[in-house]
């Protein structure tokens, strides 16, 4: 190499070297700027992008019946949505979605192209379909098969409340909205137990939103599953009650009707059916009036069925069952008010001389009024209170109604006489069922309950605390009253409830409906009811059938008693109770003696 060439090489090498060094220095400057001066800003960006709140899905507690059949469960489901701003090819997206989850692609295309922002394309679908959508569309690229995310389409996994029994005990259970918030019934009342808490984790995620395993994470909300709830409802009994209720409804088209079935020994509510029915799986499609649990929340004037309390008070106060209380001529003026008895064969001119037995057997209003007058308002009110009419049953329902009864000193003679046979007092069907359960239980009141206990994973772990039983009337008085109620079914107004071979105790009621606007009663509105228990000598269940404003007939004997009979018959079969030769009411006392009470 010549010296001139060498000179050029040396010089230009130096220049090139200098040039590259300058560029490297520039890069270094840029690095200092990015990594020191702007580090905080980038750290903020990193916080924004790299950290995500991850939701852990938990389940709301299930509700089971007494046999462990599910009444309400939460299942995993998902909803598919489109973010219209991110969807790239509308018709391709619609086509792929329809191939993945079914449905008409035209429909999807319309929703995406007409919507703005987040558009829901499918709600509450099979979560497996959601997994498929999330995985993406299978494409073959460069000879490799791989899943490609469908841009703009997202999947939201959530829980859906399902009521497997459909409309059965719907008003008892209540329902939840799409977010799992309870809106009514047990769901609402026991939300503290049932409620779940979805967990939330603040975690570092990768580009696909998955948690980076080794990275730091912070638990924001600890996930917690809801506890299960076990009801006293027996789904079989519930079905029997609802079947009977349906038949009544078909025949008499009432405004509303309800059936309460209780176990008098434990106070457990075995069935509670309300008409009109609704399906909690789609509660919002039904009118709000169908959501009402009439058996617990609606007051009605019980009418003749309340005579049982008046008579129980009389018996407990030592009045002889056979002592004549009044002479009934069909009508009588007490104070300013005309009292009337509804008269049937063979009592077209009044019930004659009336004792307590007759009050129950033939439902004599005048007799009951005179008994009430003899007891006095203080005592009568005491018994109404003791039977639990003036408080909430605290059975576990939401929106329980308190019985309405004015203070004793404001009744007056007319009021006292009316209350004696069930007018001027308003209670709920559950109150009345509880009253008859108390009588059936030998005078010991076990407050009604609907929830047996709590648990998890379908097993009951803890029983709910039960209220203490309280004696209301003596065992003897209860036995005597039971015998009267048996007579009522055997040969009195409750004949329609009679079942051959069994001892049934019960009482009819046909009450007028008070005008909500002011004083007096509506002319053609009645509440027909029948409340009783069976078998009378060893009661297993108390049934109250209350039919509000039936058409065609308004007598408890014709409207409610057949329904009672149907339910009682099926329950006797259901509980495998053998029939016994009918020999009057004397069996009852004999059996009673062997049973321990209180």
């Amino acid at each position: 190499m010549g010296s001139r060439t060498r000179e050029v090489v040396k010089k230009r090498s130096a220049w090139l070297m200098l040039g590259f060094l300058c560029l490297f220095a520039a890069i270094s400057g840029r690095l200092v700027f990015i990594q020191l001066c702007r580090a905080d800003e980038y750290a903020k960006w990193a916080e924004k992008i790299r950290w995500a709140k991850i939701r852990t899905l938990t389940a709301r507690g299930s509700i089971y019946d007494s046999n462990g059949h599910p009444l309400a469960v939460s299942i995993r489901t998902c909803s598919i949505f489109a973010n219209t701003r991110e969807v790239q090819n509308v018709s391709l997206t619609a086509h792929r979605l329809s191939a993945l989850i079914g449905g008409d692609p035209k429909n999807y295309r319309k929703k995406i192209s007409e919507g703005r922002g987040i558009v829901w394309l499918a709600k509450k679908i099979d979560p497996r379909l959601g997994d498929q959508v999330k995985r993406g569309w299978l494409v073959e690229k460069d000879g490799r098969k791989r899943y490609e995310r469908i841009p703009g389409i997202g999947v939201w996994f959530h829980r859906k409340r399902v009521y497997p029994a459909g409309p059965a005990a719907a008003q008892v259970l209540g329902f939840t909205n799409i977010n799992g918030r309870p809106l009514a019934g047990i769901e609402w009342k026991f939300n503290d137990i049932l409620a779940n808490q979805d967990g939330e984790i603040l975690a570092e995620v990768d580009a696909r939103g998955r948690i980076i395993p080794e990275a730091e994470r912070r638990v924001l909300i600890e996930p917690r599953d809801g506890k299960d709830l076990f009801l006293t409802i027996d789904l079989n009994v519930q079905h029997i009650a609802e079947r009977a209720l349906t038949r009544v409804v078909k025949k008499f088209q009432p405004e509303s009707a309800c059936v309460v079935v209780m176990d008098p020994r434990t106070g457990e509510i075995l069935a509670l059916a309300n008409f009109p029915f609704f399906d909690p799986n789609s509660a919002l499609k039904f009118p709000q009036s169908t959501w009402v649990n009439h058996a617990v929340a609606s007051l009605y004037e019980p009418g003749s069925t309340l005579k049982a309390i008046t008579v129980a008070a009389g018996l407990n106060e030592g009045i002889s069952p056979s002592s004549v209380l009044a002479r009934c001529t069909g009508r009588e003026k007490i104070g300013k008010n005309n009292l009337r008895c509804s008269l049937h064969q063979p009592f077209l001119h009044g019930h004659g001389s009336v004792d307590m037995q007759k009050i129950i057997k033939y439902s004599c209003n005048i007799g009951a009024a005179h008994l009430a007058l003899r007891l006095g308002s203080e005592k009568l009110r005491h018994y109404e209170e003791a039977f639990g009419l003036l408080e909430k049953p605290k059975s576990g329902f939401s929106l329980e109604a308190v019985g309405y009864l004015p203070k004793a000193d404001r009744w007056g003679t007319v009021g006292l006489a009316n209350i004696g046979f069930g007018q001027g007092i308003a209670v709920t069907p559950l109150h009345m069922a509880s009253v008859y359960a108390t009588i059936a239980n030998g005078g010991v009141r076990v407050p009604p309950t609907i929830v047996r206990g709590t648990g998890s994973h379908g097993k009951m772990m803890a029983r709910l605390k039960k209220p203490k039983p309280q004696r209301v009337i003596s065992r003897l008085a209860a036995a005597k009253l039971t015998e009267m109620l048996i007579q009522c079914v055997e040969g009195g107004t409750g004949k329609n409830a009679k079942i051959e071979g069994y001892l049934i105790a019960g009482k009819t009621g046909s009450a007028q409906v008070a005008d909500s606007g002011g004083r007096g009663y509506l002319p053609n509105a009645f509440v027909a009811s029948f409340i009783g228990f069976a078998p009378a000598d060893n009661p297993r269940f108390t049934i109250a059938v209350v039919v509000n404003r039936p058409h065609g007939s308004h007598f408890g004997a014709t409207v409610a008693a057949p329904a009672f009979r149907e339910i009682a018959q099926k329950l006797l079969w259901y509980y495998h109770i053998p029939p016994q030769p009918s020999n009057g009411g004397s069996v009852h006392e004999k059996k009673r003696g062997s049973k321990s009470l209180a």
Partner: protein
Amino acid sequence: MSAVQRNARINSPDLILLGIVLFLVVSGVLLVFDASYPTSADQSRYGNDAWYFAKRQITYAGVGVCLMLLVSLIPLEWIRRLSIVILLAAIVLLVYVLVRGVTINGSTSWVRLGPFMFQPSELAKLAIIVYLARALGRPGIFSKGREKRWLVPLGWSGLITLLVVAQRDFGTAAVLFAVMFAMFALAGAKKRYLVLAAVLGIAAVVVAMTYLPHCRARVAAFMDPWGHYHHAGYQIVHSLIGFGTGGLTGVGLGEGRVKCYIPAAYTDYIYATLAEELGLVGSLVLVLLFSLLAVLNFVIAQKSKSLYGALLAAGVGSAVSTQALINMAVATNSIPATGIPLPLISYGGSSLVTTLLGLGLVLSVSRNIEVEVEGEEANEDSVNRRRHGRARVPSRGCRGGFARTRSDRRVAVRW
């Protein structure tokens, strides 16, 4: 010829250069593993093997280092003779890739060679360097009235650059341009031509950025990465976040998160992972190492007694430096994005092996720093002394009487 003289002619290779190269290769393998394991462990097409890329990179590095040492041992004269073959091979492969190339990640720049995928554009760099070193390594080619002597090599290397541009690989084209510029400059091209070339090069970049839609998108993403977050700006944003969160000392080796976001974390954006995990300290050390590499290359070029060797060293030096500069500038969003691997560090067999081959050439030049390559001398003789038809005057240090001295045969391997 005495043994002393022989020793003076053949030096040991530049051990500092070798040390830096080996250090970079080893840290590259580590970084490739570090930046690739989230991807390879996650994806079934890589067998869910966290070591998938690291294993391959170790293989490439092994092959590359062996080839580098081998090349550093063989005489430069052999390379000189092979350069035309290498050039033709590069041109054939570049044409082939345009016709039947394999498309990966949207760019058609791969050729299938048996079980391996090969990038001809990487070979193109090497080919241009060895060809230009041979073609320009004759003194006086820029003398007046002999424009053909430098226009022909310019034409061939221009053709290669155009073939690379045809692949839409503008990054590599820029590297080739830089190499050509450096080698022409070193060979003694006139300043006004160099200025003209620089102006034309800048103009080409401006035109491409203004008119090519593909480039315009990248320029837009360069100006406002956040505005193009869902498309071209995504990798830029995450790369910058990596640099930013790295701060002064970094988050610690293996603790980085950029690799979980950027698909090219172990190739074009491997610098972001390094900067995130080792901080400004780590990223500056890498800049320093590459600067040192450039300095060593150009110092060898300066010291080399043969123009051929000087051109080789300067060509390889500028190729490696330009690639490193472009890669770092892209990762730090200093220039619009273009896909260039970080030499010796990024994952990729073609790039690693060809870079090591080039550095092997430089090592060879450093060994033969005292040797004047014969062909060059002969040419110089022919230029200066119009040898044709006259008696041959033996050159310095050679025996007289023979047309060829075969000096290379006497070269002993000394290390």
